[in-house]
């Protein structure tokens, strides 16, 4: 059972307090988007073994959505941060680089590159 730090209320929250929301940093495609873009937005999700960015909601706590960067194989958590952003903060990306040099995820990678 995972334990994640809620960046809003500051508690280390048990997974039972949380609700998983799938992949983070999706770009919403609405009317006018191509069939392919819309399909990918809805259905084509990343499923990596290793570094991954996810959405979680502290549903039994403060109710806020946040993002977590973690390793899906080892369950190591590199950091959590508020969901009100379109890309992982530099500090998070640096923290990942320290543990998983050379990582990439969709368009994101080590901030030094």
């Amino acid at each position: 059972m995972l334990i994640l730090h809620c960046p809003y209320c500051g508690v280390m929250a048990d997974e039972t307090e949380l609700h998983g929301g799938g992949e983070a940093h999706l770009t919403r495609h609405g009317p006018g988007s191509s069939d392919e873009d819309f399909h990918d937005y809805l259905f084509a999700k990343e499923n990596p073994r290793g570094v991954h960015f996810e959405r979680w909601r502290h549903v039994q706590g403060c109710g806020k959505w946040f993002h977590a960067a973690r390793d899906t194989a080892t369950l190591e958590v590199f950091g959590t941060y508020p969901a009100q952003t379109t890309e992982p903060p530099k500090a998070i990306r640096k923290a990942i680089t320290a543990k998983r040099p050379g990582w990439t995820w969709r368009g994101f990678s080590d901030p030094a590159k």
Partner: protein, 1006 residues
């Protein structure tokens, strides 16, 4: 015979006799006995029959690893099957029954299975029971049911008499296992000030050390144990729990512990079991090791036991398994058993040491004390059926030619030791094969890691592959100090106490089959998995048939799949498999260790969550009134709503019909408080509402209401309800009953993760208001009678709302209708709900006021052709399917679901569309029935062209009416479709418009 000894029994209080029954027979034991030791004291060696062949089986071990001695314990509400006699503490009045036999333990008809053993080879389920198919019902299934099944299930009508609880705990260091390793690790960590929790599954501290002997700091091991426990008990930062098993280790330091509080004292106050839900910074597994059996013919005959178990029974419980015990071993440890037996005045006619070179110092001691020791020899075969009568001995290197027969009534076997690595492995800890000691041991370099990527589990002592007191204590001390440091404490430098080292030990020799070249007859009687009746020959057959992966072999032969999860059998089975495959053991690999370590009770898992606490019920402000009227309640979400209010002697159907008629004729009341109520407020609320709903909500005038549809991003209709604009920047959204939380979460998700720059708050005020439907031609009259608000047609038109004081109670009145009648919904503060309801009932008397339930509500909405979420929708239906295009804005650029509804699949004209259905004979269509077409589809199934989504008997139309989704439905008005019933007969129904009642809305427009 097995018997109680005059001396020994360190765990017993011999002065306190305890009486119990086994298969109805009265027996006596002592306080401190386990059921197994007490049965042995009563010469009851045979304790059950095996699962598949119903072979007589005796106890083989002395602890949690026991595969054979499973009993049904207790009676009635406290009956529980498959309890291990070895871990069941004896108590006064205990009643146990052996399992897997019929009609009795001694005489069992199922034992004929044994005669058919050659027809029940590995994978027999897959091979035997395939064809012909018709044999399943009358031949195979009855056979399997009668002969299979481990133990018997408790009576379905009884309810567990005990209570259970969950306990949440947080600790820096969790030590699992209270042997000397666990105690030393706890001391090392505890002295640093770290919070330490120690769990020991048995009722005693110290583990094997008091039995195996040795000295710590110049004193007997027992003295060290007592001192360690005393020191730990004196520390405020240390918690000690006996009878508490570490059941499973999970992600990020989460551990389940299983505490058995009153299994040894049934009926005692308080919970029976407690499930510890622990979050630990560091976990130390000091879980010891388990001895392995040797694989020789007849190694399952009652009286053949693990050498360490025989030793335990003599030292701990003062019972002997037999008078003459032959010891058979591939290592030095079993010699300890021979010496202990000798000390207890018992006879050891022979030690068979499979190693050509024999043993070390302990072997010398055994010889010096006059025991005959034969090296390079083994057991060809055990004599006896229900009890050991002797052994036939042979050369280990040969094929089993019998050299000599030696009478005996017990056999002590030792095939070496396997560290208990289960808890280490649960969360990903990896193992290395130690070829010298023939065991898998934890690889500290590949430990389970936590949320920070650092290791959080460490094994120590025998669980880490360390044997010998000195090595164990040193390893444990290091583990405790390391764990303390990892949790931010300073452990100091205090070393482990010094222990006396055993003399020179000769190395173990790997013996996976005895004798090495045993023929097929012997291999078919050499058991690997006692509980699932898997033999050496089964694993060899599986390998020859191509089951080369250990995971496949496990499933094919069922090796290790019983309730003991192969604690005794896995390594032996793995070794046999790798020998056949000609590859080293580590290459074959192990199967996955899964929690719990031993079975835990369902009661402990449920904890307090049973009965009324299983899922708390939500109650409206008039819930009690409904119950007082004997309303027939139904669950809707977490609420209970009246389905109908039957009068004395009235059927539910009749009550529903009466409620509809009374409402349409005069006045009905509905408790609508369960409808969700969400406030959306803020400068950007209008544009947000336009995104949430398919229709335009931003242009709704203050004081007005509008019916709205809400879709998912996939385009599917997920909720509906009336939206009211309360002020310039405030909207009130009604949701379906049970939909409030889901819709609220849906709004929050988009608000927080997509449009976080929009300034809006959403509040769920569902429980802040009681809300009542006042419905029917006399609804205005009754509200006017209450007085205080002008509700004339001019003052409050259809789809408007107003506020005021009705009957002295602050109210918000919505003129909306879900029935087609003149109708109002009145919301009052929840605290005034019951008072307002009473006033409605009082004022409504003259109009014959009739409270109605959900079924009348459904019928009236269906008569009017309104859809219901969950009936007309099922998560695959879009509003366009339901003819709701009028509620979808064409002007808006975007709303959630709009893009999805433009996908080719959604615009396909072949999608089934909503229509009304009228049976030709006026009967009611079966709910969910399908309309069939011509021919069959690619799967050979009848083609279908529609289905019923709602179906009722309408008291207004006095006939069956239904709604359904039908292929090209709206274009096929008047066509008659065939709907088969479950019995195969056909109901015919005509496609009609789905609005039956007052299509022009004249009734509500008054």
């Amino acid at each position: 015979m097995s018997t109680r000894l005059a001396t020994g029994g360190r765990l017993l209080d011999k002065g306190r006799q305890v009486s119990f029954t086994f298969n109805g027979k009265r027996m006596t034991g002592c306080a401190g006995d386990t059921l197994a030791s007490a049965l042995l004291a009563n010469d009851q060696v045979m304790m059950g029959r095996s699962f598949k062949y119903h072979r007589p089986r005796g106890v083989v071990a002395s602890g949690a690893e026991e595969p054979n001695a499973l009993v049904g314990l207790g009676t009635g509400a406290r009956f529980e099957p498959n309890q291990r006699a070895t871990t069941t503490e004896l108590f006064e009045g205990l009643s146990a029954a052996s399992q897997n036999h019929w009609p009795s333990l001694d005489y069992d008809i199922g034992a004929v299975n044994q005669a058919f053993a050659r027809f029940l080879p590995a994978g027999f389920y897959y091979k035997m029971f395939m064809f012909p198919r018709v044999f399943w019902k009358h031949v195979y299934e009855p056979f399997i049911r009668q002969s299979a099944g481990l133990g018997k299930a408790p009576d379905a009508e009884t309810r567990d008499a005990d209570t259970y609880e969950h306990f949440h705990a947080y600790t820096d260091v969790l030590v699992i296992g209270g042997g000397i390793a666990g105690l030393q690790a706890a001391l090392a960590a505890g002295r640093s000030g770290a919070r330490v929790l120690v769990m020991e599954q048995t009722p005693h501290w110290g583990g094997r050390a008091p039995v195996d002997g040795g000295e710590v700091d110049g004193k007997p091991a027992e003295a060290f144990i007592d001192a360690a426990v005393a020191e730990l008990e004196a520390m405020d930062n240390v918690t000690l729990r006996l009878r508490c098993m570490g059941a499973g280790v999970y992600d990020h330091g989460y551990v389940l512990g299983y505490e058995r509080l009153s299994d040894h004292a049934p009926g005692a106050d308080g919970p029976r079991h407690r499930l510890w839900r622990v979050r630990a910074g560091q976990v130390i597994t000091a879980t010891g090791a388990i001895e392995r059996p040797l694989s020789f013919a007849g190694n399952d005959v009652p009286g053949v036991m693990l050498a360490s178990a025989l030793r335990d029974y003599v030292v701990n419980w003062g019972v002997s398994a037999g008078d003459r015990t032959v010891v058979v071993t591939n290592n030095d440890d079993a010699y300890r058993t021979a010496l202990v037996l000798l000390d207890a005045g018992l006879n050891v006619p022979l030690i068979l040491d499979a190693r050509a070179g024999g043993g070390g110092a302990l072997a010398d001691e055994a010889r010096a004390r006059g025991i005959r020791v034969e090296t390079g020899k083994g057991i060809a075969k055990v004599k006896g059926r229900a009890r050991v009568t002797g052994v036939a001995i042979c050369a280990q290197a040969g094929e089993g030619a019998v050299l000599e027969e030696v009478p005996c009534d017990a056999v002590a076997m030792s095939g070496g030791w396997s560290p208990v690595v289960h808890l280490w492995s649960h969360c990903g800890g990896k193992l290395n094969w130690d070829d010298a000691l023939a065991m898998f041991r934890p690889d500290a370099g590949r430990a389970p890691t936590g949320h920070d990527g650092a290791p959080f589990v460490a094994a120590c002592g025998a669980a880490n592959g360390e044997f010998g007191l000195n090595a164990i204590l040193k390893d444990a001390n290091t583990a405790g100090q390391t764990a303390a440091r990892a949790t931010g404490h300073k452990p100091g430098r205090k070393g482990a106490p010094k222990a006396s080292d055993a003399g020179d030990e000769a190395p173990l020799e790997q013996v996976w089959l005895m004798p090495q070249g045993a023929n097929i007859k012997l291999r078919m009687k050499a058991w690997l998995d006692y509980q699932n009746d898997v033999k050496v020959s089964d694993v060899q057959l599986a390998a020859r048939e191509g089951y080369e992966s250990v995971e496949h072999t496990k499933r094919y032969t069922t090796l290790g799949m019983a309730t003991d999860q192969g604690k005794l059998s896995n390594i032996n089975g793995l070794a046999v498999l790798s020998n056949v495959l000609g590859q080293p053991i580590p290459q074959a690999g192990t199967t996955t260790f899964r929690p719990p370590y031993t079975p835990i009770s369902m009661g402990a898992i449920a904890g307090e969550a049973r009965g009324a606490l299983f899922q708390p019920i939500r109650r409206t402000t008039v819930h009690d009134w409904h119950e007082a009227q004997n309303a027939y309640m139904e669950p809707v979400g977490h609420w209970r709503r009246p389905y109908c209010f039957p009068k004395a002697g009235e059927s539910h159907e009749d009550a529903v019909q009466r409620e509809v008629r009374a409402t349409r004729d005069s006045l009905g009341l509905l408790d609508a408080s369960t409808l969700g109520k969400l406030i959306v407020k803020g400068p950007d609320a209008g544009r947000f509402m336009d995104m949430m709903y398919t229709n335009m909500m931003s242009n709704l005038a203050v004081g007005k209401c509008r019916y709205g549809l809400m879709c998912s991003e996939n385009g599917f209709l997920m909720d509906d309800g009336v939206v009211a604009r309360l002020s310039d920047d405030t909207w009130l959204c009604h949701t379906t009953t049970g939909g409030a939380e889901r819709v609220h979460a849906h709004m929050e998700e988009f608000l927080q993760t997509e449009w976080w720059d929009w300034q809006i708050f959403v509040a769920n005020v569902t429980e802040q208001y009681a809300q009542f439907g006042v419905v029917g031609p006399n609804s205005r009259k009754v509200l006017e009678k209450l007085g205080g608000v002008d509700l004339s047609k001019e003052a409050l038109a259809f789809m408007q709302w107003t506020e005021g004081t009705l009957a002295g109670i602050e109210s918000r009145i919505f003129r909306i209708s879900f029935s087609g009648e003149l109708s109002y919904e009145v919301a009052v503060p929840a605290s005034m709900g019951r008072a307002f309801w009473n006033k409605l009932l009082e004022a409504g008397k003259e109009f014959g006021v009739t409270p109605y339930g959900t079924e009348a509500l459904h019928i009236m909405r269906a008569e009017k052709g309104f859809i219901m979420i969950g009936d007309e929708t099922d998560g695959t239906v879009i509003p366009q399917d339901l003819g709701l295009n009028w509620a979808i804005s064409k002007k808006k650029e975007d709303y959630i679901g709009k893009r999805a509804q433009a996908r080719s699949y959604m615009t396909n004209p072949e999608r089934w569309k909503l229509v009304g259905l009228e049976t030709v004979d006026g009967s009611v269509l079966p709910d969910g029935a399908y309309a069939v077409g011509e021919g069959v589809n690619a799967n050979g199934q009848r083609v279908v062209q529609g289905r019923v989504t709602s179906t009722y008997h309408s008291p207004t139309l006095e006939r069956g009416i239904a709604m359904g989704l039908v292929l090209h439905g709206p274009d096929r008005m008047g066509e008659v479709l065939d709907f088969p019933r479950l019995d195969g007969s056909i109901v015919q129904a005509k496609i009609v418009d789905h609005v039956w009642f007052d299509k022009d809305g004249e009734k509500q427009n008054v």
